[in-house]
């Protein structure tokens, strides 16, 4: 696990929202696994920080939760994206695109100042 990068502060929420948008209602463990898989197992989610992050998103009204039963018949709490969450995801994604684009321009050689 040592070589894997930790999820950066602040991006976990965006990943959670995107995961829920893609896969629909999902439990915490499922969200974590999905993030790890999507990153090609390059990222490791600290499960301990995932739940506070989920709680924060729920408090802000972007997701809701409900108890249900998992695919292999375990009781689990399922998280679902709300409409506010969908909008927030759009905003955050755009902001992120902008940030990466700026950074990319900074880092690519020869494009610094024109």
């Amino acid at each position: 696990m040592g070589e894997k990068a930790d999820v950066w502060q602040g991006t976990l929420a965006l990943m959670v929202l995107k995961t829920l948008e893609t896969l629909g209602p999902l439990h915490g463990y499922g969200i974590a696994r999905r993030i790890e898989q999507t990153s090609g197992d390059l990222l490791s989610v600290n499960y301990g920080t995932l739940y506070p992050a989920l709680l924060k998103l729920e408090q802000e009204g972007y997701i809701t939760s409900e108890w249900g039963v998992s695919a292999n018949n375990r009781k689990a709490k399922f998280y679902r994206l709300t409409r506010a969450g969908r909008k927030q995801l759009g905003r955050e994604a755009r902001a992120w695109d902008q940030t990466t684009a700026i950074l990319a321009r900074f880092l690519s050689p020869g494009e610094g100042r024109s």
Binding site: Y47, G48, T49, Y51, P52, K56, E60, A76, A95, I102
Partner: protein
């Protein structure tokens, strides 16, 4: 950095939305705080389900169940740590910490029951005394009238010389004549309305049971102008105050309605006898409302136009030379007091000119001073009255002294805490070693102090209740403050108590907390006995505290000594009467329709019957009770005495019955005192005191000299008028 500096993340966040989101999150956190237990259980279940899912995965990946579980727990980063992090996010950390600190402080204080009890008791006395005094201060000086927009009210005063009868229900307060009030009401411009009122003592009789009471004569717009609402029925209106003598309606005060009629709604439209005149009860004023005056709450409100009908022997309603009415107004919106004062004096000047026509041979000097009369406006939100002047200084002084007492209690507590801090150095060292920050330690110590102080404050409320009661009971009756401050402790005062407690806690806890948390870690841990030599700074602080304590105590002791000294001096003053074995009471037969003749008969009968009671040695009567706080004065001419020009000879006077001086224990220096033979048709006689002789008939024998007294309109408490003008006799 340029002025175009931007957020490096370049993410525009709309302010409004962010606020809404934060508010929503805060609301949910608050809920999280309240539903802590059920949310804790839910979190445990969720984490457990997470582990199960992970374990299932691990087993599918080929691990043994034990390994699978171990890996899952490790990946989660420890269940308890995760829970802690989660809880921090869920509620407000501050509250959780506070609860923790409080729990710990509570345990610690319980364990040191002796210390805790003494500390709480000390603080209870200090905080309780302060709360009691503050409650009085608040009710006497800081409370505004319970009426609509009290800051718009202003009271009208007009000082200056006067010819005719003048009286007021406010010592030293000025009043106006009824005709002038009506004229001014019509011609005034700066006020929404101008109302008049006046208190009179009255006899109130309901269902054959009469009692003394206070009646407030009010103009028809009185309640409307104050914005007072009826508790039941209706209040007086302009229509109840048009024709003198024609409006037999009365409104009860809420306090009287609840004490005399037990809040019985059926009193409406019943008849109450006010000074023997039947009046229909039309309503009850709103709860808590007394009048625009401070102190002496009235029982009954009646229209001002009924003043003559309800006052035996008084015909001053239409008389411009009778000034007896007080006035107040409500400023129009946007009107300042200064401008209103200028504007109201325009019509008032015309009224003064009219009054001048009625003056009887005024001297030029008198005329000039009379013409200079003008109305001044006083702010009205705290109510009209002299309680402020009378009680303001003593109450502030008392408040200051009790604050000093609390300061001493604080110093005591600080010293105790310091001593305990030294003893707890080892505990502090252990906690520091386990990772507690200095901030956390200070917080813990402060929580303890504040918990102690609040517990002291809670007990202090009981102390305050007693103290207040004791103060009010120990004051002589009739000082006005009892009626006013009887309300006890309300929310405002309890809030003050809580605030004072917390402040006290911080005051006596902060320095010991800083001191205690500042221990040298290694030396206190090494020291097996758990003893730490206190540092130099701690010592000097303790010395300072003790010194301050002694200084403040000395200050209190000196002022207490001065008080006692004054008290002893006052007790040594010879009042000129013997107060032992003396009983007094008062009656008001005239208010119940007795004629002068019958009053005289009643006095004789009463005196005779009382004298027959075994144990009664002497009985007499007087119109104004001795040391009752009431006085009546008049001007007079003394035979052979010419007053300096522009001045008149005047003195207080009293009507007294046969044997009055013997009964009061006042020895006569010369002459005789009144007997039954000095009745209304006998030659008039008077008794004067030595001061009178010194001033008006110095170095001569006063016996047999004549004085002329003008007793016309000299007051209206006509209880005993069977000894009219009298001849000169002297006594000490």
């Amino acid at each position: 950095m340029g002025s175009n500096h931007r957020d490096p993340r370049a993410v525009p966040v709309t302010g409004g939305r962010a606020v809404v989101r934060r508010l929503r999150a805060a609301a949910r956190r608050l809920r999280g705080l309240l539903r802590r237990r059920s949310l804790d259980r839910e979190l445990a279940e969720e984490l457990e389900s997470h582990l199960q899912l992970h374990v299932d995965d691990n087993i599918r990946g080929g691990m043994t169940p034990e390994d699978a579980r171990r890996h899952a727990v490790l990946a989660l980063g420890g269940i308890e740590q995760t829970k802690e992090r989660y809880r921090d996010r869920r509620g407000f950390r501050l509250f959780d910490q506070l609860a923790q600190d409080l729990g710990y402080a509570g345990r610690l204080l319980r364990r040191n029951a002796g210390f805790t009890a003494i500390a709480i008791l000390t603080l209870a006395l200090g905080i309780g005394a302060n709360t009691a005094i503050f409650s009085l201060l608040d009710q006497v000086l800081l409370r505004t009238l319970p009426v609509e927009a009290p800051d718009q009210l202003v009271y009208l005063y007009s000082d200056g010389p006067w010819q005719g009868s003048t009286s007021s229900d406010e010592p030293g307060g000025s009043s106006f004549s009824y005709p002038l009030f009506r004229e001014l009401q019509k011609s005034q411009t700066p006020f929404v309305g101008l109302a008049g009122a006046r208190d009179r003592l009255a006899s109130l009789a309901f269902e054959n049971h009469a009692s003394h009471g206070r009646t407030r004569f009010v103009s028809g717009n009185y309640f409307d102008l104050l914005g007072v609402h009826p508790a039941i029925g209706r209040l007086l209106t302009e229509d109840d105050d048009r024709t003198p003598g024609a409006h037999s309606v009365a409104v009860l005060s809420y306090a009287y309605w609840s004490s005399r009629f037990a809040e019985d709604v059926s009193v409406l439209n019943q008849t109450i006898l006010v000074n023997n005149v039947p009046m229909a009860i039309v309503g009850v004023a709103q709860k808590g409302f007394k009048s625009e005056r401070v102190g002496d709450p009235p029982e009954v409100y009646v229209p001002i136009s009924m003043r003559e009908a309800l006052t035996p022997d008084w015909e001053g309603l239409a008389d411009r030379k009778h000034i007896w009415l007080t006035m107040f107004g409500r400023l129009k919106p946007g009107m300042t007091r200064e401008r209103a004062e200028r504007e109201i004096n325009v019509p008032y000047r015309m009224q003064v000119e009219q009054d001048i026509q009625l003056l009887d041979h005024p001297s030029d000097d008198f005329l000039e001073r009379f013409r200079a009369r003008r109305i001044t406006l006083e702010p009205g939100q705290y109510g009209r009255g002299t309680l402020d002047d009378q009680w303001g200084a003593p109450l502030f002084l008392l408040m200051g002294l009790t604050l000093l007492v609390l300061l001493i209690a604080c110093a005591n507590m600080a010293n105790l805490q310091l001593a305990r801090g030294t003893a707890r150095a080892r505990e502090v060292a252990v906690r520091t070693a386990m990772g507690a920050s200095r901030m956390q330690l200070v917080r813990q110590f402060l929580t303890e102090s504040c918990l102690l102080a609040v517990a002291g404050g809670a007990l202090g409320i009981i102390v305050a209740y007693w103290t207040q009661h004791a103060i009010l009971v120990s004051l002589p009756p009739g000082m006005g403050i009892q009626d006013l401050a009887s309300a006890g402790l309300d929310g405002r005062v309890l809030f003050f108590c809580l605030g004072l407690s917390l402040l006290t806690g911080i005051l006596f806890g902060l320095v010991p907390a800083l001191q205690a948390s500042n221990t040298d870690l290694t030396s206190s841990l090494k020291d097996q006995a758990g003893q730490v030599s206190s540092t130099g700074r701690a010592n000097s602080f303790r010395k300072t505290v003790v010194m301050a304590q002694v200084a403040v105590s000395l200050l209190l002791l000196i002022s207490a000594g001065l008080f006692v000294n004054t008290l002893v001096n006052v007790a040594r003053i010879d009042p000129g009467i013997r107060a032992d074995h003396l009983m007094t009471f008062s009656i008001g037969p005239k208010l119940n329709g007795y004629t002068d003749q019958r009053v005289a008969q009643l006095h004789e009968q009463l005196t005779d019957q009382l004298a027959q009671i075994p144990g009664v040695t002497l009985v007499s009567s007087a119109r104004t009770g001795t040391i009752s706080g009431n006085t009546t004065g008049t001007s007079f001419n003394v035979e052979g005495y010419t007053p300096p020009s522009g001045d008149t000879a005047d003195s207080l006077y009293n009507y007294v019955g046969a044997g009055y001086f013997r009964t009061m224990g006042t020895p006569l220096v010369a002459g005789r005192e009144f007997t039954r033979a000095d009745h209304a048709s006998a030659p008039p006689v008077a008794v004067v005191n030595e001061e009178f002789v010194r001033q008006f008939v110095p170095n001569q024998n006063p016996l047999g000299r004549h004085i002329e007294i003008d007793i016309e309109g000299a007051g209206a408490n006509d209880d005993c008028r069977h000894c009219d003008e009298c001849q000169v006799r002297a006594h000490a």
